[in-house]
């Protein structure tokens, strides 16, 4: 039986471009090498937005030095939507590859935010992971907080506003923020990987942090810090029935928080198995989280609830904040495409990276099969009026 082609799409015009390369290669392409049912086709979107596909793109070494020179030797890719999705390579040795399913492995804007999912949906091509709506909501911290709150999930007190609103009515917004208790967290609404996230203790720091946020994004969220904090993250996958991974506890020194450097530059997520051996030393997380059985169960239930409220589609990693003294679990954020698929977590839970990727692909195919059964045309006499 021939293998199905899985287009692993990564890179893109995003501040998280480089992280996406690792997610694609170590999280998806490498595990799929052993798959009997699927074979990966790397599809790279460069920082300038051009698309490429070539076997060399599946090696991390390709991206290290002289990337532009190497890309210049490759032919840009063309996409053809003709009864599905085809990757077309032109020239003397022209070729066409039919794609059976797309595996989005981009992070951040122009991909993870629903753009890529929308493209696939328009083409009628199955794709892996969160669908268009869930991706768009998940990448918007304000929207996801509002959905969670409306569904009865606890969130820390927060205020959200745009840069236009802030410049128009700064006094009122600062007054509203004044009702929150310091310390506060200032976050860009649409970015991931903790880019431009800052903890602030007073108004001066708040203003500085907002200036940085508005450099990257046009919306900001300011929220109260959860006291007695234990920060956990939990991956979940499924369409109708859910499978939940381990409740994983982030580890960092008191006063610190889990920022971009901790996640990626201190040998955190970049290393397999979640073990850090970089400058920070020691492990960046532990599984299972060291919390009571009741809190552990509460975390799992909160994750299930949030996933359901967002549309329960495909895959996500949900971050929670626990007030360990009061035993309260707050929703923090959703990551519809976690770095390296959070495969180290699933491995600990008893699912190998290969099995994880294959399951996600099967979920994507199952979802598309469900969509294909639905009627999308409606006979009417509307046009006869014109």
């Amino acid at each position: 039986m021939s293998k199905q082609n899985v287009a692993v799409v990564f890179g893109s015009r995003s501040t998280e471009h480089d992280v996406s390369v690792i997610t694609a290669i170590s999280g998806v392409i490498n595990p799929l090498k052993l798959s009997e049912s699927y074979q990966s086709v790397p599809v790279y979107i460069a920082k300038d937005g051009r698309w490429y596909s070539h076997p060399d793109l599946a090696q991390v070494e390709f991206y290290r030095d002289d990337l532009d020179k190497k890309l210049a030797k490759l032919k840009p890719l063309q996409l053809k939507f003709d009864g599905g999705l085809w990757l077309v390579s032109t020239g003397l040795r022209a070729s066409k590859t039919k794609i059976d399913i797309v595996f989005p492995a981009t992070h951040g804007t122009n991909g993870e935010d629903g753009s890529l999912m929308g493209l696939c949906q328009m083409a009628g091509v199955p794709y892996v992971g969160a669908d268009l709506v869930m991706s768009a909501i998940s990448m918007d911290k304000l929207a996801s907080r509002r959905v969670a709150q409306a569904g009865g999930v606890l969130v820390p007190n927060y205020i959200g506003f745009s840069d236009k609103e802030f410049s128009k009515d700064k006094k009122q917004i600062l007054k509203d923020i004044g009702r929150l208790k310091y310390p506060l967290f200032v976050k860009p609404t649409h970015l991931g990987s903790s880019i431009a996230v800052a903890q602030v203790k007073n108004e001066r720091e708040l203003l500085n942090a907002l200036e940085v946020v508005f450099h990257y994004d046009d919306w900001a969220v300011v929220e109260e810090a959860v006291p007695n904090l234990v920060e956990v993250t939990v991956p979940i996958m499924g369409n109708k029935e859910f499978e939940i991974g381990m409740v994983e506890e982030y580890l960092y020194k008191p006063g610190e928080f889990f920022d971009f450097d901790s996640k990626y530059l201190k040998g955190g997520k970049g290393k397999k198995g979640g073990k850090s051996s970089g400058q920070g030393g020691g492990r960046y997380s532990r599984m299972p989280a060291k919390i009571s059985k009741e809190l552990y169960k509460q975390c799992q239930e909160t994750v299930e609830r949030v996933f359901y409220l967002l549309g329960a589609s495909g895959y996500a990693r949900i971050d929670l904040l626990i007030d360990s003294k009061k035993g309260l679990v707050y929703f923090n954020e959703v990551n519809p495409m976690p770095g390296s698929l959070q495969s180290h977590n699933w491995r600990e839970a008893g699912t190998s990276p290969l099995k994880l990727v294959e399951k996600l692909i099967e979920l994507g195919l199952e979802r598309q099969a469900g969509h294909d059964k639905r009627t999308t045309s409606f006979d009417s006499s509307f046009l006869s009026q014109f």
């Binding site: 490498n30 595990p31 090498k33 052993l34 798959s35 009997e36 397999k272 198995g273 699933w346 491995r347 600990e348 839970a349 008893g350 699912t351 190998s352 990276p353 290969l354 099995k355």
Partner: protein, 481 residues
């Protein structure tokens, strides 16, 4: 570089020498490999080990390459002066034959070098080694067999080393050159010398024994390994038993009674060892798992004692009994013997347990023989684990018995409770797959590329709680043919 351009690049010389080295300069095996290889770009990352012989061959290869290139250039100029059809055909034909000429001329250099340089050197070397060993007061133990020699050497070294000064040939350098290096390293006051005798061709063991004059012998087992150049198990038996011929009368010869092919060849006077024990020592209460092995060994007269070692597997019982018997005969007390076993760690890549990314891995990647494979699978069968994973590229150099041996491995795996079998794609593992199907295997099978190293991808394919047994490591396709 593609499969055609590589044949004309200077790197092709290094590839040919790599091949010569890999088949231990056996000219016929080398030429066979040359004609069967097909795509030489597959060998592009292979390196020769720098030895005087290989350096001489690199030099010769470079000279031959330059000569052939010069002839090609001269033919081209000759053609330019008069571009007739015969001249054109001659030039094209010569160009096409360059890789063949290079390979065969290099074979000729190797062959001549072997007879004109290596053989005389061996004679001189042999005399020197004989002098060293005949003057040495220590007991000389020679170990021969198709498999298990290094492990046995390692065990004897550790156990006897608890009380005695022991020196052993290093690594698997069991050739005359390796033994010469060993001889020159001796200080003269060692109590015991352990020599591992490699058998590549009939006469090899006799040659080594003639140099070292063994006092004690070990025959660890005979099977289909190296059959591609031994040609038959009968030849392998004859070669290994050259050790028995070389021993003095009434000298101790330890023989592995669990090796099927040795049945009928063990004499009454031989010390046959097995999982039940050995003459004068009985084994009981044997238990083995990932943490190691414990057993009780009781002499005919005297009290039994417990041995604890980090070595794993039922197949260790016989060699342990043999090592105890020898140690006892050399004056070691039970406490010293126990200490020796306690201090042992498994040799690298020989059934060595390790943890990688939360997964227990039994690294048996040096093991390439049928008995070793079956013993390893039997051990895996008896282990308790969330999921059992078995990985192999198959066995090499089994000659015409390769299909049956691999089929038997597949059948054994099918009934061993293994959940996932991962095979490197090559001519041999197809037979393992066939054996799995014949044995109605219920688990999963997955395939790696021919040269893929499983350990580089282990985190992608395993999960917490897995136990992985990795047997043998990938070699070039030729070795599986």
């Amino acid at each position: 570089m593609n499969r055609y351009s590589v044949l004309y690049s200077p790197k092709f010389v290094r590839q040919l020498i790599y091949m010569l080295q890999s088949v231990e300069y056996d000219t016929w095996q080398y030429l066979r490999w040359f004609w069967l290889q097909g795509d030489y770009s597959e060998l592009k990352n292979k390196r020769t080990k720098p030895t005087p012989k290989s350096r001489l061959l690199v030099f010769s290869g470079a000279v031959i390459y330059l000569v052939l290139a010069s002839v090609a250039a001269w033919l081209f100029l000759w053609l330019v002066s008069d571009s007739s059809l015969p001249r054109t055909l001659l030039l094209v034909g010569f160009l096409a034959l360059i890789p063949v000429l290079l390979a065969h001329l290099l074979a000729g250099v190797s062959f001549i070098g072997r007879w004109l340089i290596q053989k005389p050197l061996e004679i001189i070397r042999k005399r020197r080694i004989k002098d060293v060993f005949s003057d040495h007061p220590g007991k000389v133990i020679v170990i021969a067999g198709s498999y298990g020699k290094t492990s046995m050497k390692h065990m004897l070294g550790a156990v006897l080393g608890a009380k005695l000064k022991v020196a052993a040939t290093s690594g698997n350098f069991n050739t005359p050159a390796g033994i010469a290096r060993f001889a020159s390293s001796l200080s003269g006051d060692e109590d015991v010398l352990i020599v591992e005798a490699g058998e590549y061709r009939p006469g090899d063991v006799a040659f080594i024994c003639d140099m070292v004059n063994p006092d004690i012998g070990f025959i660890t087992g005979v099977n289909e390994q190296h059959l591609s150049h031994m040609k038959s198990v009968a030849n392998a038996l004859t070669t290994v038993f050259e050790l028995a011929e070389a021993l003095p009368e009434k000298a101790a010869l330890y023989v592995n009674a669990e090796s099927q092919h040795l049945e009928g060849h063990i004499q009454k006077a031989d010390l046959a060892y097995s999982r039940d024990g050995i003459t004068g020592f009985k084994i009981s209460k044997f238990a083995t798992n990932l943490g190691g092995t414990k057993l009780t060994i009781k002499p005919k007269k005297g009290q039994g004692f417990e041995i604890s070692t980090s070595l794993m597997g039922l197949h260790q019982a016989g060699p342990i009994a043999a090592a105890v018997h020898l140690a006892d005969s050399l004056g070691l007390k039970p406490a010293e013997i126990k200490k020796g076993f306690n201090s042992m760690e498994a040799h690298n890549r020989r059934f060595k347990p390790q943890e990688i990314d939360g997964v227990a891995v039994i690294d048996d990647s040096y093991n390439g023989n049928p008995d070793g494979f079956l013993a390893g699978i039997e051990f895996l069968k008896r282990l308790k684990a969330k999921r059992k994973v078995y990985v192999t590229p198959g066995m090499i150099e089994l000659g015409r018995l390769s299909p049956d041996a691999h089929f038997a491995v597949g059948q054994k795996l099918a009934s061993s409770g293994v959940d996932l079998v991962i095979l490197n794609k090559n001519p041999a593992t197809g037979q393992i797959d066939a054996g799995l199907k014949a044995g109605k295997y219920k688990g999963e099978t997955a395939w790696l590329g021919e040269q893929d190293n499983f350990l580089e991808h282990i985190s992608d394919f395993t999960q917490k709680g897995d136990v992985v047994l990795l047997q043998n490591s990938p070699r070039e396709r030729f070795f599986y043919l």
